[in-house]
């Protein structure tokens, strides 16, 4: 059954999927495609990229439903999910090879067609998509493989992989989307899956609360995004990228109307919600309640980068308003610094990595903000590898030590038997994160920081220095963790969680508790990721283009609208001058050296405090007591949100319900009922039952009538 023979059969399938009934819409979708004929029709089999994970999800879902399936023994759902993701990865590689450097479009079937709003289930394939596809499908396959062993024995095994399948389906839809509405579908789908996965251990109230928090904060971002979509539709009459970019190509920041300039700010709100930037980052640290593979896949590599992808994808829009990208840059920079400070003071391994993710995302946004989409996406690419590695490593530790994550209770893991692979891979990951020279983190972070100094505008140099300081903090807290956990004297206490109720006879006394060394699947995945973390940086160096193969790809994608505007904003000379003035004038050159030095300094500080004499760290902590407490409590941001937003809203709810509904409205209605009764009771006393009363009443009535008649006659009316 070669691909060619399948081709005819499958093409009918795609035609079938564009049903005849939607005749009105059908013609339009082809029409829309026709209009943007400039974009070549992409490979039809691209539709399998999201379809395979969806299939896997459905199969695992069925497994979860059937009663007979016993989660303890068989791992079938795990394997079929990994298979599904692998197939999706293979298809995306095939599609990437087909894309090369140009942009393609594939229409699968017509989704929403009402009035002039036309949103099909169609894909927009360009080099940016291929990079993202590589990251998403690649990392998710590795994480699924890892999880198949990590989650073994868990009661919700099949359910877990169903959600993972759904997540990858949603993420791929997001990346491949050809129009904003489908992007929004992916956007919310990913939010949903993160809700379901964070709340996977639904018996833990903290997990349920964290899941709910994640979904709601995302939803706030999504509202901004949705309003952005509507505004674009209102302004340009279409939500599809191709016609949108065509319409935008004619404009420049001056010629565009005011309301168009608001669109980037709205979209930005969505990006910050999803990628956990400053105002809406609170959900990411709590999202660590979910199982570690989830944190690794969703909250490190794929979902959180959706914001960066969106801005890169809609770069032509962002470029139009002069203030949009600087705001993105500044918020990115501030978030990086802010998260790094909190990361320093945390004790839970996953929380530290979560804050470091927020901080690295800050870097990416700073990258895009300072008009270096290549740097941002490159950092995204490398970050996916080493952050996934770090998370999975800490997951292995957690898995082995029955849920123990507190860095104060584990140390000297290097000496324990069977944990060699984990230690070495974690070392590579930490070095990459810290920006150790010649590892992936180093290259990608440099491109961003260097660009900060190059692009003119709104205090970017200050931003650059802030970035350097954050790089120092990053190096420090990464190695604070590494030295604490993996080096130093060997002592550890098991966690409280009877993790994944594996039936091992884990006695909980410290002495004869022996950690459960990770299996082959975990070690394999860790080593692959370590290789990725180490060498993914060179993609941005070799390959002839200005920033290597990676730069070439980004140059051909929509992202380069950012770089074009960079060239336009300060004329061609800015960049060229850099080269001619030799090593010190070109930021890209000296940044290599400076950031290397900073990385090393950070590591040394961490080494001194957390390996040489840990007491010094404690003494230092005593001296700067208030700051330490402040950082530990995460600058009290969560409590602030609770007081400023959650409590007033809940109070309003009570006020509306107790006073608004029950008292005012129901009161009015009851009043409406009471009026007739009131009138009745006023007339009641007339009937006292005494004969004379009635007689008198009649007589009075009679004489009144006669009097009136008489009066009328007098007046001469008769």
């Amino acid at each position: 059954m070669t691909l060619e023979s399948m081709q005819p059969m499958l093409s009918e399938l795609s035609v079938l999927l564009v049903p005849a009934t939607a005749h009105g819409g059908g013609a339009a979708s082809h029409g829309a495609a026709a209009v943007s004929e400039a974009i070549a029709a992409g490979p039809w089999f691209a539709m399998f990229i999201p379809l395979f994970p969806l299939l896997a999800a459905v199969v695992c879902g069925l497994f979860a439903f059937t009663r007979r399936y016993d989660p303890k023994r068989s791992k079938i759902p795990g394997w079929c999910c990994v298979l599904g993701l692998l197939l999706s990865f293979v298809t995306s590689v095939a599609v990437i090879s087909r894309i090369g450097h140009d942009t393609l479009q594939v229409t699968i079937f017509e989704w929403i067609a009402s009035g002039s709003l036309q949103a099909d289930f169609a894909f927009y394939l360009d080099p940016l998509t291929s990079i993202m596809l590589l990251v998403v499908t690649g990392i998710s396959t590795l994480v699924a493989l890892y999880a198949s062993e990590y989650m073994s024995g868990d009661r919700g095994y099949a359910r877990f992989f169903a959600f993972i399948g759904m997540f990858v389906f949603a993420m791929t839809c997001l990346i491949l989307a050809d129009n904003l509405v489908l992007l929004y579908l992916g956007w919310e789908g990913v939010g949903l899956c993160s809700y379901l996965l964070i709340g996977f251990y639904y018996e833990k109230p903290s997990a349920v609360a964290a899941a709910k928090k994640a979904f709601i904060v995302n939803r706030i971002g999504d509202l901004g995004f949705a309003l952005g979509i509507m505004l674009t539709y209102m302004e340009f009459g279409t939500v599809e990228f191709a016609p949108l970019f065509q319409a935008l190509s004619g404009h420049s920041p001056e010629s565009v109307s005011g309301s168009v300039q608001i669109i980037p700010f709205l979209l930005m709100l969505g990006a910050f919600g999803k990628s956990a930037q400053l105002p809406l980052y609170v959900w990411l640290p709590d999202a660590m309640e979910g199982p570690t593979p989830v944190s690794a896949l969703i909250h490190a590599a794929t979902m959180v980068t959706a914001g960066v992808y969106m801005i890169a994808r809609l770069a032509p829009l962002f470029v139009l308003s002069p203030y949009a990208l600087p705001t993105v840059a500044w918020i990115g920079g501030l978030t990086a610094l802010f998260a790094a400070t909190i990361g320093m003071a945390q004790y839970d391994m996953k929380r530290i990595f979560a804050y470091s993710t927020v901080s690295q995302l800050g870097y990416m946004f700073m990258g895009i903000g300072v008009l270096s989409a290549t740097g941002a996406v490159f950092h995204l690419f490398t970050h996916a590898f080493f952050k996934a590695l770090l998370f999975l490593g800490s997951g292995a530790v957690m898995h082995g030590f029955a849920g123990q994550l507190d860095i104060r209770r584990i140390s000297g893991l290097r000496k324990v038997k069977g944990w060699g692979v984990v230690t070495w891979t974690m070392l590579v990951g930490c070095l990459a994160l810290a920006g150790f020279p010649f590892l992936s983190g180093f290259f990608s972070k440099d491109t961003i920081l260097a660009q900060a100094f190059v692009t003119p505008g709104y205090g970017f140099t200050i931003l650059g220095f802030m970035g350097l300081f954050t790089a120092l903090l990053t190096a420090y807290y990464t190695f604070r963790l590494f030295f604490r956990v993996f080096l130093g004297p060997q002592r550890y206490e098991p966690g409280d969680e009877h993790h994944a109720d594996d039936d091992g006879g884990h006695g909980h006394e410290a002495e004869h508790f022996h950690p459960h060394a990770p299996g082959w699947a975990i070690n394999l995945v860790l080593t692959i990721l370590a290789l990725g973390a180490a060498f993914s940086g060179y993609v941005g160096v070799f390959g002839g283009e200005e920033h290597g193969w990676f730069g070439g790809m980004m140059h051909a994608s929509t992202g380069n609208a950012v770089t074009e505007s960079l060239a336009a904003s300060h004329g061609a000379d800015g960049h060229a001058a850099g080269e001619a003035a030799g090593f010190w004038a070109d930021p890209h050159k000296w940044m290599m050296a400076v950031s290397a030095v900073i990385g090393l300094v950070g590591i040394l500080i961490a080494w001194y405090f957390h390996l040489l004499n840990r007491q010094a760290a404690d003494r230092l902590k005593e001296r700067v007591r208030p700051i330490a407490v402040l950082l530990e409590n995460k600058w009290y941001v969560d409590e602030g949100y609770d007081i400023l937003i959650r409590k007033p809203l809940r109070m309003a709810g009570y006020v509306f319900y107790l006073i608004g509904d029950t008292i005012i409205i129901n009161g009015l209605v009851a009043l409406g009922g009471a009026i007739p009764r009131l009138i009745g009771s006023t007339i009641k006393p007339m009937q006292r039952g005494i004969l004379h009363g009635y007689g008198l009443g009649m007589a009075a009535g009679l004489c009144a009538v006669l009097a009136i008649m008489w009066w009328l006659i007098q007046v001469g009316v008769t």
């Binding site: 006393p685 007339m686 009937q687 006292r688 039952g689 005494i690 004969l691 004379h692 007689g695």
Partner: protein, 105 residues
């Protein structure tokens, strides 16, 4: 047979009106059940005079015929009324009209 003049008609009507008014006042003020019925009889009587006066004025015998029927009704009414009064009296040993006021609102 000469019909009576208008002036005398007016006079008779005056008398019957006065009697009627007195009967009404009596009915309204007296609390004794029997007297109240007596006052209604008085009102009957007043009406009778007016009827006859008009009959005479119009030289029409029907005034008197009608009075005969009025009398029969008055008699019937009186009989029943008194039977009722006796029954009521036997119930509450008092002729006071205000004793019977359970039918209040």
């Amino acid at each position: 047979m000469q019909p009576i003049s208008i002036i005398s008609l007016n006079a008779y009507l005056l008398v019957s009106a006065v009697l009627f008014a007195l009967g009404l006042i009596g009915f309204l003020t007296r609390r004794n059940l029997i007297i109240m019925f007596l006052c209604t009889e008085l009102m009957f009587q007043a009406a009778a005079i007016a009827m006859i006066a008009f009959g005479a004025y119009h030289m029409d015998i029907q005034g008197q015929v009608f009075l005969i029927f009025v009398l029969t009704v008055a008699a019937a009414e009186a009989a029943l009324a008194l039977a009722l009064v006796v029954a009521l009296y036997r119930r509450r040993n008092s002729l006071d009209a205000e004793v019977w006021s359970e039918m209040s609102g």
